[in-house]
């Protein structure tokens, strides 16, 4: 990191233990099926599994061959089959086909299904319907916390977002509650709890219930982590929809970071093979990774710049530095040259898609000027058939910042979108509307205080009773008013010097302070929601913001500066960077717990009905 932590910053708890626990639990489960066995692994579980175990560990526990659970049937000759899967209906059908084919062939084998992180009744129902309930034994591998970095825990559940925020399915709330319970058991109780959002509230309540049932478990322990903050993704879609310009974010947007590591293709490695690189904020010796990148806005022009964090070099200087001074440090040398390759490749891609104009449009949307110009930019984007996901993202950003599109624009953009990318996206638009990501202003819809009060009354009071035509979870975003209240668009006189960041806006080149991070900052400052009533109301969360502080004062001052932030529905690298910055400024340290690391493309894909 560019700036060292303050000397009084608290130490982070050691989360590597979570990996060991998960690994040992898996080993135990494998041993429940003694003897040689073939293991079928769901694709989505492979990367997380890779981070806690390896083939030799599996082999030691008599796993013979490994297969991927996929659409085509696998030919395994083993007498025992073990399936390691997410609790999904299609996996159950896959297993059922396999077992039923065996039955037809008169073959008997032993089958075991290990659900991770937990089993769902709907899955068992399918097993029962397919007539194989009892033929397979079921187990759960409660592996729901994967440390991706020293301060980042991921549940690796990207489907959480769609399941909850689109379908309104609360199946993962128990998983979240269990994860919190595990953390509080291992690292002591959390004396101060805050949260905002319906899902946050429900997760919190269920977690409390778990704690109460296991009374006494955490009582009397000294807390290691002083605060916990739960936040629903739909409190702040805007931040997640913006193009990222911090280094990790850019890499994620460009190459897709998967489970904390990224595959750099030949264009980056400048050889003929791809390399997998693990991305950490700090290397093993606590040294910061050196790269970061910035947008500078000079006279309306935006420029992508990369610089080395500690040394303030540009790419050319960096290259020299790497070839001259780092010769001896082979590892560091290779890592840096790879990252430089990545930067160059990002630069190339970004200049090709006239990134300048894109960023300019985004900033205009955030600030709320030149709406017509931005709309026609988006239109052209669509007409030229530039990436469907990008176009969708921009439309959503326009919709949320403007409290919905005016009907004329909505119709015309939608029509052109369907013409450019396929009529079946009709379904995508319906999803986006339900999730509140892309809406149409009702006729005569303007933002008066009275009106939003009324709409708030309707949504809050009648929650769960009124039959909305779409039973929408969507709410008005009121972004503009919130932005004003929380001062999200910093006033910059002259140029924002990105080498000396002033505030969290640095993650968006000084143009915008992430809303989610600002909320967290404000609440932590006040130690409550007091004085934020207006913001809470604008967020449509009058009854969904909570504070819970324990009276007993056992928490050390050090623990009170350790804050666990729980993002329900995913968080972005930009948000992580912003809060890390805040931590350095205030002497806090943040720990991130997210259902998955996300970005704008993942959010849009989750809403898309047509799989690419």
């Amino acid at each position: 990191m560019a700036f060292p932590h303050r000397p009084d910053a608290p130490e982070l708890p050691d989360f590597s233990m979570l990996k060991r626990l998960a690994r040992d639990q898996l080993i135990y489960l494998l041993e429940q099926l003694p003897g040689k066995k073939d293991l079928f692994i769901e694709a989505d579980l492979m990367s997380p599994l890779d981070r806690i175990a390896n083939v030799s560990i599996l082999k030691q526990h008599e796993v013979d061959k490994l297969y991927k659970v996929e659409s085509k049937p696998a030919v395994s000759s083993s007498e025992q089959l073990c399936f390691l899967v997410r609790p999904r209906i299609k996996n159950m059908r896959y297993i059922a086909n396999l077992v039923n084919a065996d039955k037809l062939a008169g073959r008997t084998r032993k089958y075991k299904v290990i659900f991770s992180p937990q089993k769902f009744y709907a899955c068992e129902m399918v097993l029962e319907e397919e007539g194989i309930y009892g033929d397979v034994s079921c187990d759960e591998w409660a592996f729901s916390l994967l440390p991706l970095d020293v301060d980042l825990l991921s549940m690796e559940l990207p489907e959480f977002f769609r399941d909850y925020f689109l379908e309104g399915d609360q199946r993962w709330i128990n998983t979240v509650a269990q994860a919190l319970h595990l953390l509080s058991t291992l690292y002591g109780p959390f004396p101060n709890c805050y949260g905002i959002g319906r899902c946050a509230k429900m997760s919190y309540e269920l977690w409390r219930k778990l704690e109460d049932e296991e009374d006494g478990e955490t009582k009397g322990r000294r807390p290691e982590i002083g605060h916990i903050f739960l936040l629903d993704r739909d409190m702040d879609f805007v931040t997640a929809l913006c193009s990222q310009v911090v280094y990790e974010g850019l890499v994620d947007d460009t190459f897709r970071i998967k489970c904390g590591s990224v595959d750099f293709g030949p264009e980056v490695t400048s050889s003929d093979k791809s390399l997998k690189v693990l991305l950490n904020a700090e290397d093993k010796n606590g040294r910061a990774l050196l790269l970061c990148c910035r947008y500078t806005g000079e006279a309306g022009r935006y420029k992508l710049q990369f610089c080395v964090r500690r040394r303030g070099m540009d790419i050319k200087q960096m290259k020299n530095f790497v070839s001259q001074e780092l010769k001896g440090l082979k590892q560091e040398h290779r890592l840096l040259s790879l990252h430089i390759g990545a930067c160059e490749s990002i630069m190339k891609k970004k200049t090709k898609q006239d990134f300048q104009e894109l960023i300019k449009t985004e900033h205009a949307l955030l600030e709320g000027f030149n709406i017509r110009e931005s709309t026609s930019y988006i239109e052209e984007h669509i007409d030229r058939q530039v990436s469907p996901i990008e176009s969708l993202r921009l439309m959503c950003l326009l919709s949320i910042t403007e409290n919905g599109l005016i009907p004329k624009d909505y119709r015309s953009l939608k029509t052109q979108y369907l013409q450019s990318y396929g009529p079946e996206h009709l379904l995508t638009f319906s999803n986006l509307r339900r999730a509140g990501l892309l809406t149409e202003q009702a006729p005569g819809d303007t933002l008066t205080a009275v009106e939003s009060k009324v709409s708030k009354l309707v949504t809050d009071k009648a929650a769960g009773k009124i039959t909305d035509a779409f039973s929408s979870l969507a709410k008005r975003s009121n972004f503009r008013a919130i932005s004003k209240k929380l001062n999200l668009i910093p006033r910059v006189d002259g140029e924002y010097d990105l080498k000396v960041p002033r505030d969290m806006a640095y993650v968006f080149s000084g143009a915008y302070v992430p809303l989610s991070c600002r909320i967290i900052e404000q609440v932590l400052e006040r130690r409550s929601w007091q004085g934020l009533d207006e913001v809470v109301r604008l967020l449509n969360c009058s009854e969904l913001a909570f504070t819970d502080m324990t009276k007993e004062d056992k928490a050390s001052s050090e623990s009170l500066r350790l804050i666990l932030v729980v993002f329900l529905g995913g968080c972005t690298f930009s948000e992580i960077s912003a809060l890390r910055f805040l931590g350095r400024e205030k002497g806090y340290r943040f720990i991130f717990l997210t259902t998955a690391v996300t970005n704008s493309a993942r959010l849009m894909e989750a809403m898309s009905e047509v799989k690419a």
């Binding site: 233990m17 060991r20 626990l21 040992d24 080993i27 041993e31 429940q32 692994i41 990367s47 890779d50 390896n54 083939v55 030799s56 560990i57 490994l66 297969y67 991927k68 209906i89 937990q118 089993k119 769902f120 009744y121 709907a122 129902m125 399918v126 034994s137 079921c138 409660a142 399941d163 379908e167 309104g168 399915d169 609360q170 199946r171 993962w172 128990n174 291992l186 309540e205 049932e213 296991e214 478990e217 390399l275 997998k276 693990l278 590892q331 290779r334 052209e380 007409d383 369907l418 013409q419 450019s420 396929g422 009529p423 079946e424 379904l427 319906s430 769960g464 009124i466 039959t467 779409f470």
Partner: protein
Amino acid sequence: MNRTKGDEEEYWNSSKFKAFTFDDEDDELSQLKESKRAVNSLRDFVDDDDDDDLERVSWGGEPVGSISWSIKETAGTSVSNHEGREQLKSRNSFSSYAPLPKPTSTYSLSSFFRGRTRPGSFQSLSDALSDTPAKSYAPELGRPKGEYRDYSNDWSPSDTVRRLRKGKVCSLERFRSLQDKLQLLEEAVSMHDGNVITAVLIFLKRTLSKEILFRELEVRQVALRHLIHFLKEIGDQKLLLDLFRFLDRTEELALSHYREHLNIQDPEKRKEFLKTCIGLPFSAEDSAHIQDHYTLLERQIIIEANDRHLEAAGQTEIFRKHPRKASILNMPLVTTLFYSCFYHYTEAEGTFSSPVNLKKTFKIPDKQYVLTALAARAKLRAWHDVDALFTTKNWLGYTKKRAPIGFHRVVEILHKNSAPVQILQEYVNLVEDVDTKLNLATKFKCHDVVIDTCRDLKDRQQLLAYRSKVDKGSAEEEKIDAILHSSQIRWKN
């Protein structure tokens, strides 16, 4: 592993088991705490292997022992997988992962499980762990819950829901009266656990007539959403449509029906299916889209059959020169337009495949049409067509260049299709904004435009700067020099 049933029983019983608490895993977390301590104290002699392994992941691509890699191997041996083989070669031999680099698991927590039957290894470890009592450090990991059935029928709704949340099999059969069922559902909803809500809904769906079920869910939105999602997931389309019909959610009903077309591969069948969607109660706006979808596919089927025939016959030049890369079926409208501008540009409006016909049928806006036609003709390097696209005649017969999309965009598209400088130059000159024009001209090396613009701006400094960028002794340099020496121009700097 070779633990017998008896051993297992003894093992479980030896752990603190509280009767009648239904909380079989009561101790799980307290033991996790202990295992934390155990793990911490183990640190000294357990190799710090985690991070090392990860380092290896980062540098050797996927490490030899990695699971994803190994799965590729399995795939590679069953199907002759080229990629897999490549990787194999680069890693010397298959057996390279067979030797175990570090006997990690001897020290891992799991060894405690085996320790029961292999006292040797357990002993040595427990010696080291002097501060911990001689009891199991193992968390009661994932005990197969199905084995702990409880057939007692006396659970109250809240107890039942609690047991369900813990993943225990629990009979719901005793909830027979509607009131009991609904109470159970409400308990589940108030617990917030979606899995339990769905479990109760599965039961209700089985034991209530659908009219009653729907009626009760209509006033219970949270549960209703779970049922809808559940029906979508298991693919019970019929019941889902019935539900939407009951709820009078006509638009969702229509969309849900329409969604099915994605599962139909055969184009003719898909077309027929789309036809059935046309009359569905979509919003007025969406109805038009559905109609268009049907018409588009209908067209594509005709065009595809025709062109496949033409291509196979080999008589048509355009298909010989530029063989089709993919079928046009199920492509978006704009792609279809591009295709038709590419292969059927000159066709009369009467044919289905002509661009003008497509434009009319689908009311494609001018802007969109020009962009697409430009891209297609530029790709073919048909500069004459490009020219014609922007040329308009006024009533006096003068021609003028106009573009509904802005000439800077035109230039970009032309450049992307590697248009020659003369062509580019012509369009760069048409860009209105001087700054943009200068930028584009510089970017695409349209020297004349840059030089002329600088001259017009009377910007001597910029012209001087540009002089250093052009080749020595080139015509451009001469031109610049001539202008710089001209006495006619009043330079502003």
